[in-house]
């Protein structure tokens, strides 16, 4: 039987959330892979090898494949053309001989048993069947490809109504609604704590710590389980990554910064000596989940971004390498006295160097006298202990 899959990722459901992060949540990396990638791989695991993804993207953003496997066709569509594009992808599949199409809108990430779903569809002999989890209807459909009118009515109502009866199959596995940034953060936690079947995209370098190829954890940095460091991400000396934090690909966490229960989005820079807690940082903003607020950070010394273009990143690194020795020589000649290399304890207690002349204020992490008597207690109590 010819079964194919269509994945839809757009931002109508969560406009405010997407404005904060600048992209549909389904296309943002969580522990190394986007939900879109994870769902495409899951479909392929169930033998649905022909998969197309329709992703909402501004026309200026160019052609991207959002990290999808090479055999997944990716179609970008402008927001106003999104549903028409999805419908035409479905029609193309039907014309080219598909018998059954599994349609998934992300939306929610659900670890669906597609074999069970297809079997349910065949047994019920219906045109369209749907999945639900508890009381929540999931936007996961199985459509007989010959029933183009039913499919068309689904697409034209943005999956709200089906013109024929639509039996529902109950799903009892893992579901994350992925409707808000809080869900995105929870998804990272669920992956790192193995609540979900899907796992972090990297090698487990020590129990509970995953590192993707090319990740650089400098000497003196601490990564405490569970945590994830994405490919070509950089954790500078003195930084602490802890409590289900995820630093995605090409991100950089500068010296002495503590990332606690947070996600650093791809191509983001988190400045030196900061405390990033219960947040999602990147794209020039911080979504603070404790306060439920999104703050735009204009100061690139605090939260910045690295270029998505590999060429620009290469030029920046080359410039850094070329200026490294002259900078050292300059410091050697003109610096009054060479600063002693701070230890982790000291770094964690000081304010960020981004504050210029006010940098280095002592801000005792554990503001009791005990912290002086037992200096090691500070890290042990606040950031866990290995």
């Amino acid at each position: 039987m010819d079964i194919r899959g269509i994945l839809l990722a757009n931002s109508e459901q969560n406009v405010a959330e997407n404005q904060a992060l600048g992209a549909p949540l389904a296309t943002l990396d969580v522990a190394g892979k986007s939900t879109l990638q994870r769902m495409a791989e899951r479909l392929q695991q169930y033998g649905i090898s022909s998969v197309s993804a329709v992703v909402e993207a501004a026309p200026s953003s160019g052609v991207r494949n959002f990290g999808l496997p090479s055999d997944v066709t990716c179609v970008s569509a402008a927001p106003d053309r999104f549903w028409r594009t999805a419908e035409s992808v479905f029609n193309d599949m039907a014309q080219s001989g598909a018998e059954l199409v599994v349609l998934i809108r992300l939306g929610a990430y659900a670890e669906v048993d597609f074999e069970k779903q297809v079997q349910f569809h065949i047994d019920r002999k219906e045109r369209v069947t749907r999945m639900a989890s508890d009381e929540q209807m999931l936007e996961i459909f199985c459509i007989s490809a010959s029933r183009r009118n039913d499919a068309a009515s689904l697409f034209r109502t943005q999956l709200a109504h089906c013109r024929s009866e639509c039996p529902v199959l109950q799903h009892d596995g893992y579901v994350n609604p992925l409707a808000t940034t809080r869900d995105l953060r929870q998804f990272a936690i669920d992956i790192l704590t193995r609540q979900a079947q899907t796992c972090a995209a990297g090698k487990e370098i020590k129990p509970g710590v995953w590192s993707a190829p090319g990740a650089l954890i400098e000497k003196g940095a601490r990564v405490l389980a569970p945590a994830f460091v994405g490919s070509l991400a950089r954790i500078r000396s003195g930084a602490v990554i802890t409590r289900c934090s995820s630093v995605e690909r090409h991100a950089e966490v500068d010296c002495g910064t503590v990332v606690e229960n947070s996600t650093v989005l791809p191509f983001s820079y988190v400045g030196a000596g900061l405390d990033l807690a219960h947040s999602i940082a990147g794209m020039g903003s911080i979504v603070n989940l404790h306060r439920d607020v999104t703050v735009t950070i204009a100061d690139r010394k605090l939260i910045g971004s690295t270029s998505v273009a590999a060429g620009k990143r290469f030029l920046t690194s080359a410039a850094e390498a070329v200026t490294y020795l002259p900078k050292l020589a300059f410091q050697g000649i003109f610096a009054v006295n060479r600063a002693q290399k701070p230890d982790l304890q000291t770094t964690l207690r000081k304010t960020t160097p981004a504050l210029g002349t006010a940098a280095g204020f002592e801000t005792s992490a554990c503001d009791t006298e005990t912290s002086h008597k037992f200096p090691n207690m500070v890290v042990a109590r606040r950031y866990g202990h290995q």
Partner: protein, 130 residues
């Protein structure tokens, strides 16, 4: 109880606190900080954007006040200001109050309930995995 008759200066901070506005603000408050044992409250309710130079200015004001045996307290922090202060590890260097009135009153005596909101926030259990 210490009855304090010295004046408390309450200053409302501008909406955008960048290098330029921070410099201007510092120039405005400097005379107050130069007084003997200055008592200053900064109201941050309007602050919508604050960068490193804004935080640096707050720390400068605090250290100038400390030099003269005074203090700077913060009140009515907007969410934006609170997030940046937390991020830069500076929120624990200041006494923070819910309103300017409470901050001003706190110079005359300890108000056990005034900082309740802040304490509640600090103690609030993490909704996500700890």
């Amino acid at each position: 109880m210490d009855i304090n008759s010295r004046p408390v200066v309450v200053k409302r901070m501008p909406e955008r606190l960048n290098a330029r506005t921070a410099r201007e603000f510092l120039r405005d408050v400097r005379p107050f900080l130069a007084a003997d044992r200055p008592q200053v409250v900064f109201d941050l309710s309007l602050v919508a954007q604050i960068d490193a130079s804004g935080v640096e200015m707050l720390l400068k004001c605090m250290s100038e006040a400390h030099k003269r045996d005074g203090d700077v307290k913060l009140a009515s922090l907007s969410d934006q200001a609170a997030v940046v202060l937390e991020l830069t590890r500076t929120e624990r260097l200041f006494e923070i109050y819910e309103t300017s009135t409470e901050a001003a009153r706190s110079f005359s005596g300890f108000l056990p309930n005034a900082m309740r909101q802040q304490l509640l926030h600090n103690k609030r259990s993490t909704p996500l995995a700890a």
